[in-house]
């Protein structure tokens, strides 16, 4: 794989996920220091700080790059802050990668952290009658799980997915998450427990919907040349592709926070892949690989049912075959292509700006063979997939 698209991952670090109730800066700082330690670098070696923003923590959250830089101690490093909903972390990775590939810096630090309120995500405060995110709560009472549930019901209708399948995804991810010291939920669950948990948005139950969490994640990225000098010639884990594509018109699947899809009257339905599929397809193309090359995947399981959609959208199987993959154990630890060995959102809950970074952290540890208790043997190629609000999504390829 040519160097011209790759950046090295020298360090990965996290603050454990939970409901700690402290300031988000504390989590980001802990994650940044852990990543720098992991890289064997000091803060003053960092030339570019790339923050992933949080919108629920006041002004410091909107300029997260500067907030983290100040917390680490002003050093004169250049800075960027990015918001892209659930894909914010990957957008921050993309900004750092572009700086490195352009030769504008050698070492960059990417940080995302969040402190979340209890319960359903609500729109940010104030009466904003021109904001679809405010209006969907006001006029429809449509929460995030409403949309996840619409996809889940559609999947049952089209492909014969069952409530047992959705519960099995949760059981699988809880088992993996139990071995992950950074996960918030570290208890195995049984299918019976999942199916006995309260219905939130039919057909999705409480244990199948991702919680909102506090947490922080960070990466130290560098040029491949710097990494080889720094590591004494050994080849580091690297990132050959970051996709942050937008949807293509007409987007015919209802997406948060919209009231309606695009109209396909003028141009007909898109012939190519849907949005979720296009996110990872672009990453594969950029990396020069295909889904058959992937050893391990971290996908955005906002609900247990949505993980099944991702199996198809990242190309692990054809449309309608995800349930078979699951039932055959292919995506469990020890299976042919383990998905969410970290435990996924199911075990973490969502700390929005940290989440896409955390996905990459997990792949880095997997590819280094350091994911104790949940290791995918011999993993050399990993892919992440993520979808957020307002046409944001991301996919990152990580290779060894």
């Amino acid at each position: 794989m040519a160097d011209d698209r790759r950046v090295a991952v020298l360090g990965a670090g996290m603050h454990p996920w939970g409901k700690w109730g402290r300031n988000f800066v504390e989590y980001g700082l802990a994650a940044a220091r852990a990543a720098l330690d992991d890289a064997g670098l000091s803060w003053t070696d960092v030339q570019f700080v790339s923050g992933a923003d949080t919108i629920r923590n006041g002004y410091p959250g909107f300029i997260s790059g500067a907030t983290f830089a100040q917390a680490l101690g002003w050093s004169g490093a250049r800075v960027s802050s990015a918001y892209a909903a659930c894909a914010s972390g990957a957008t921050a990775v993309a900004a750092a990668r572009a700086q490195i590939l352009a030769g504008l810096c050698d070492v960059a630090l990417v940080v995302g952290a969040d402190t979340t309120p209890k319960g359903f995500f609500a729109p940010v405060g104030g009466e904003r009658r021109d904001d679809p995110d405010w209006l969907r709560f006001h006029l429809l009472g449509a929460t995030n799980p409403t949309y996840f549930a619409l996809y889940a019901r559609r999947r049952m209708e089209l492909f014969g997915a069952t409530e047992d399948d959705f519960a099995a995804v949760k059981v699988k991810n809880a088992r993996a998450g139990a071995a992950n010291p950074n996960a918030r939920y570290r208890q195995e669950v049984t299918a019976e427990e999942v199916l006995a948990s309260p219905m939130v948005a039919d057909p999705l139950r409480l244990l199948e919907i991702c919680a909102t969490s506090d947490g922080g994640a960070a990466l130290v990225l560098s040029s491949m040349d710097f990494a080889r000098r720094h590591a004494g010639g050994s080849t580091p884990v690297s990132i050959p592709a970051v996709s942050t594509v937008t949807p293509r018109f007409p987007q015919t699947v209802i997406e948060m926070p919209n009231f309606a899809t695009d109209s396909a009257v003028a141009v007909g339905a898109v012939d190519g892949p849907g949005f979720r599929r296009s996110i990872t397809a672009a990453a594969y193309e950029e990396a020069g690989i295909g889904p058959e090359d992937v050893d391990v995947a971290e996908v955005y399981d906002l609900s247990s049912a949505l993980e099944l959609d991702w199996y198809e959208d990242i190309g692990l199987c054809k449309e309608g075959e995800a349930e078979r993959l699951l039932r055959d154990g292919d995506t469990a630890l020890g299976g042919r292509i383990p998905v969410n060995p970290s435990g996924g959102l199911s075990s973490f809950g969502e700390a929005i700006p940290a989440q896409a970074i955390a996905q990459v952290c997990e792949l880095v540890w997997q590819l280094r063979g350091r994911a104790a208790g949940r290791q995918v043997d011999g993993a050399r190629v990993g892919v992440t997939a993520n979808q957020g609000l307002f046409g944001h999504g991301s996919s990152v390829v990580v290779v060894r």
């Binding site: 559609r154 209802i254 003028a266």
Partner: protein
């Protein structure tokens, strides 16, 4: 008997004139692309740079693309009845407009009453109320259902 004034919970998104409730969308004068809610200054079609749109009523009937319910009270700015009464939400495919539009389903309908592909029609119903007003919104009502909604 209520004497409250009935007002739309949102201005200009739907009409109930003449007893024929309909969503008000926009249709691009150049390429024909519909939008809901209305677009006023851009067409979503990347091949179209038109800025002229007609306000049009959307199809009053469609088929359920998918559906779910809200078993827990949604957070503000949703104004929930106390005690909270769970409700259904449907995403409904409109054939002529080739688009899917979400809406609450009229009270009294549960997920057990719904199926993908079912025909539903648009009604106007009360979303919430205060001391002086009833605030109205569009809802989907299964065709053939005998109760709920259609009070607009």
């Amino acid at each position: 008997m209520t004497t409250k004034t009935r007002v739309p919970a949102v201005e200009g998104w739907f009409t109930a004139e003449g007893g024929e409730p309909a969503l008000l969308g926009s249709r691009c004068r150049s390429c024909g692309t519909y939008a809901f809610p209305r677009e006023a200054f851009f067409c979503r079609n990347p091949a179209c740079d038109s800025s002229e749109f007609d306000e049009v009523p959307l199809s009053r009937r469609g088929r359920v693309w998918s559906y779910t319910d809200a078993c827990y009270t949604p957070p503000a700015p949703y104004v929930a009845a106390d005690p909270f009464v769970p409700f259904c939400i449907a995403a409904v495919e409109l054939a002529a407009e080739k688009m899917v539009v979400m809406g609450q389903v009229v009270p009294g309908v549960t997920v057990d009453d719904l199926a993908v592909g079912d025909e539903v029609e648009l009604v106007v119903d009360v979303l919430y109320e205060d001391d002086e007003h009833e605030y109205l919104v569009w809802k989907w009502k299964p065709v053939g259902a005998t109760s709920g909604g259609a009070r607009g």
